[in-house]
Amino acid sequence: MCETCGCGDPEIVPIEVQERILSDNDAQAAHNRSHFSGLGLLSINLMGSPGAGKTAVLEATAKAAGNRLRLGAVSGDLATDRDADRLNASGIVSSTITTGSACHLDARLVHRALHDFPSHDRDIFFIENVGNLVCPAIYDLGQAANVVALSVTEGEDKPLKYPVMFQKADLVLLTKIDLIPHLDFDLAAVEDGLSRVMPEASMLKVSAKTGEGIDAWLQWLEKRRPARVEHAAEGHGHPHSHGKHHEHH
């Protein structure tokens, strides 16, 4: 019987659910995580505004890493393959996830891209999210860490204006720092804003143009790489606990 509004309708019953609405995405993200862990690679969800310099940072990362690290990336893009083309040219094995009008990547899109990905023999796998400081923060993709690129031209108030995004970040990359001499940029204001929205505020200052700070960023990545594990020579070598069969390429 309906007990909420007292209408007395005997056929209305309350069904207790108490579950995250995005539990399907969470389950898919957990599955992706097992892919990444089975492959022994570090997966990074790189987020930030359009034009924050996400692709440029990855290009600079590839340049600095040289032959030391095998890098892979999938780029979420509404309409083009431009980012993946740029990354491939820089030496990062890359593919595009075309999202159409969708403003974020979800775990299912990343999973599909993983299965179609040309190489699974990577050390670090970047998921370059769609340029957007709001929506991507909501979706777990199975990544080991969230990194947010914030460029110095976006304004110091972005952390306070977009607290959900920065609260989810394990690291903020302050990009385009070579432009600081041309701007009235208040670094302390960014640091203060971050400390109020990000519990373990951590920021590295980088310039993709000059290469400044890229070594520190590489060290940050290296420190988080999992110990190399033996995995099956065939397929991904991870369990499929969801019980659904799908092909591994």
């Binding site: 056929e11 209305i12 069904i15 579950e19 609405i21 519990p199």
Partner: protein
Amino acid sequence: MHEYSIVASLIDRVQQEAAAHGGSRVHRLHVKIGELSGVELDLLKTAFDTFRERTICEGAELLIDTVAACWACPSCKRPVVRGAILRCDTCGRPARMVEGDEIILERIEMEAPDV
């Protein structure tokens, strides 16, 4: 506008519950949305009003319970003052979110003769 995809997931979930319980018409949905969940309440309501049509949720009411963000020290449990630096004044430890990031389907009220 991820609110549309959240509503799509919500309606899918309700359909699963309805199938499991032999439910037909849904009257009310109770959801809990945290201040730091990244979900905009007005957009969520608009998305629900749009997507519920011709689904089991057609005509259903969406009741939203909002949760304010609350941070506290994981050691001494002292709460962090709203807007302050997320670090405990006393222990110096980074604060932890106590609540405020919920995106939860709590309860469905539906016509379900099998229950």
